[in-house]
């Protein structure tokens, strides 16, 4: 059958026919190339058909010498053939990605693992420096696990609700998805965010100093919905949340929070939760420290007292200079950081730069962000990108002209309660240097005359 018969003029215009014919030709060549590939011991297995077709000729002897025909695309990307002039040849075929898209092979931001001694206990941080807007891509949301990332089939996962309730209940994931739901955009911040920065500037980048905060749209069932179904008894004051990971992670949550804005979340940014974010179900406690947002949630137990789990006694408590430790310091206080320019960048030359960053508060909305370019001597109010949401990253921006002289950039957030983000000196004066958690001080980035941006205490 000729191509003219395949694509008759009654159904195809001239342009469509040329397109269809070229696709047939591409397919034919690709199939030929695939056969060549097979006879070469799978040397090109990693190449896409189109990549081989378009790039095969250009591959020099060196590629054969190393036995590798393509470079590694960054995580989350597929390396497609790069056209010398994309206006002169057809682009890649639709659904070549299998029907689930990936980012460009030219984008390379990745989470970074904080180098703890043991890889079994560590955390990965969000690359805030290149972040845009308020949403964190799901694949870049920070991680903190205490027993690895379980792979759970949602068809086999249940949530048990018991304790001081009239009727203990079991829910399958299907059950939870049948209940009234909400979608809310909230940040989650680990209370250990910045723990390296108390005594001296330690990490170089904003990913290292502030990358344990991320924002997603979360969808799920209000925790209050299932608590009302079960009937909370008089005297109930706390609720234990427990995960189905190897740590069987547990935290106690005040019942008022549970009956307030807490969500049993099964979706993140419009799709199911990512496994490292608790798939198929996590607790979301807007504004509370990240550790309480129990992932892989399997059990809720209502009680009159907190359970005093390991995480809320020996960890996630804040040691004060007098030797006492603050416990259940759950709310994340207002905080902001300039993400551009930020540590380890280099401004190429004096000129216009838009200073931008994020601000957030666990006690409500951000009311104001001010920016200083002189280490806090003078401040200018930044523009806030709307919508400004409750307990959510808020993007701020301020146009700035760098004259080429030394500068210290800082940002200072004020939330709707009137709380003003403190300086590090103010925090240390009250809390000392041993409290580890809840560092929400103003961050300083020093700009050297050469344009180098460094993390400083100023």
């Amino acid at each position: 059958m000729s191509d003219t018969e395949k694509f008759p003029a009654s159904l195809y215009g001239p342009a469509e026919r040329r397109m269809a014919e070229s696709l047939v030709e591409i397919e034919r060549q690709a199939l030929l190339d695939q056969r060549e590939c097979e006879c070469q011991d799978g040397m090109f297995n990693a190449l896409t058909r189109r990549g081989l077709l378009m790039g095969g000729v250009a591959l020099g002897g060196s590629a054969f010498a190393v036995g590798q025909a393509r470079a590694e695309a960054p995580p989350g990307a597929i390396e497609y053939h790069v056209q010398p002039d994309p206006t002169k040849e057809q682009g890649r075929l639709i659904l070549e990605d299998g029907g689930y898209g990936s980012r460009s092979q030219f984008e390379n931001e990745v989470r970074w693992r904080y180098p703890t001694a043991s890889i079994d206990s560590s955390w990965s941080m969000t690359p805030l420096a290149s972040g845009k807007g308020m949403i964190t891509p799901s694949g870049l949301h920070f991680e903190r696990h205490h027993g690895g990332i379980p792979a759970i089939d949602p068809a086999r996962h249940e949530l048990l609700l018991h304790g001081m309730v009239d009727k203990p209940l079991r829910f399958t994931m299907d059950d939870l998805k049948r209940l009234p739901s909400v979608s809310k955009i909230h940040f989650i911040e680990c209370s250990g965010n910045g723990l390296t920065e108390w005594a001296q500037p330690t990490l170089k980048t904003v990913q290292g100093t502030h990358g344990l905060t991320s924002t997603s749209e979360w969808t799920g069932v209000r925790l209050s919905t299932v608590l009302e179904m079960a009937g909370v008894q008089d005297g109930a004051a706390w609720i234990l949340a427990e995960g189905a990971d190897a740590a069987v992670m547990t935290r106690s949550v005040p019942i008022d929070k549970a009956m307030g804005d807490a969500i049993l979340a099964y979706a993140q940014n419009g799709e199911a939760l990512r496994p490292e974010q608790g798939y198929p179900l996590r607790l979301l406690l807007p504004g509370y420290e990240g550790n309480t947002h129990i992932k892989w949630l399997r059990r809720l137990e209502v009680s009159d007292k907190p359970f005093m789990t390991r995480e809320e006694t020996s960890k996630y408590t804040d040691l004060m200079p007098d030797g006492t430790a603050r416990q259940f310091s759950l709310e994340m206080e207002a905080k902001s950081v300039i993400t551009f320019p930020s540590g380890a960048m280099k401004l190429p030359r004096p000129g216009f730069y838009e200073v931008t960053g994020i601000a957030w508060s666990g006690r409500g909305k951000i009311k104001k962000v001010e920016v200083s370019a002189d280490g806090g001597a003078t401040w200018k109010e930044a523009t806030l990108d709307g919508p400004v949401l409750d307990k959510c990253h808020t993007r701020f921006r301020l146009p700035w002209t760098w004259t080429g002289e030394e500068a210290v950039l800082q940002s200072r957030a004020v939330d709707e309660t009137g709380y003003v983000q403190p300086t590090l000196a103010e925090l240390v004066e009250v809390r000392g240097l041993k409290s580890v958690y809840h560092l929400n001080a103003i961050q300083s980035w020093h700009i050297a005359p050469g344009g180098e941006v460094t993390n400083v205490h100023a």
Partner: protein, 225 residues
């Protein structure tokens, strides 16, 4: 690498356990999802299946009264199967007991590889020190251990029972956790270090930890403007 391998072994153990567990009314064990089926005629991908309530019958539906016909009542047995938490007053402690001497043997087998026979921890493994450090919390170099910092013995039992040892979390029987508690708290000078001394629900709940009164409620906001 050592600990990573241990984690792998533990993951395999967990998988075995999972496969032995009864499926929740679902078909077999899956390792991943299949792509949505294509519909006859148009070839479109099928949409999600409408989630089905696990309730045997939906009964009377009254959303205003929290009656959605969704979910099931949990039985005592179902709750007991995963209700493992222990509270400071001893609520939740299982039956059983163990001695200091039994604990010493169990500790050497299950705990010493990471926490050290001397209980001083092995930092390269991320395994914390368990004993010592009393009187250091107000100093410039606080040492936070079970002995110096943990406010409740129940927490030690609960955590050891649910998440230790790292290469086989949740594998220790109640008697074993009582014995290990007797040994570690004995070595810490908190409980008796007589080889025959017994730890059980009653003795554990009666233990007063050195730092029991070391915690205060969150006073924030605490910074004056």
């Amino acid at each position: 690498m050592f600990t990573r391998n241990m984690t792998l072994i533990c993951a395999m153990g967990a998988l075995t356990g999972l496969m032995a567990a009864p499926a929740l009314g679902q078909e077999g064990n899956r390792t991943s999802a299949a792509l949505p089926e294509t519909l006859d005629g148009t070839g479109e991908r099928a949409p999600m299946k409408v989630p089905r309530s696990s309730a045997e019958s939906v009964g009377e539906i009254a959303p205003a009264e929290n009656a959605y016909g969704v979910g099931q009542e949990a039985t005592e047995e179902q709750i007991a199967a995963i209700d493992i938490d222990v509270m400071p007053d001893g609520r939740g402690l299982p039956e059983g007991s163990g001695t200091y001497a039994e604990g010493e043997e169990l500790y050497e087998t299950n705990c010493a590889a990471c926490h050290g026979s001397d209980m001083m921890g092995v930092s390269e493994l991320g395994a914390p020190r368990l004993i010592g450090g009393r009187g250091t919390l107000a100093s410039d170099a606080p040492v936070k251990t079970v002995e110096s910092y943990w406010p409740y013995a129940s927490t030690f039992f609960d955590y050891t029972h649910r998440a230790m040892p790292m290469d086989a979390p949740g594998s220790l029987a109640a008697d074993e956790v009582y014995a290990i508690s007797a040994y570690v708290l004995g070595r810490a000078g908190i409980a008796s270090s007589e080889p025959d001394s017994v730890m059980d629900a009653e003795t554990l709940a009666g233990i007063e930890m050195p730092n029991a009164n070391g915690f205060v409620a969150d006073p924030r906001p605490d910074i004056n403007e």
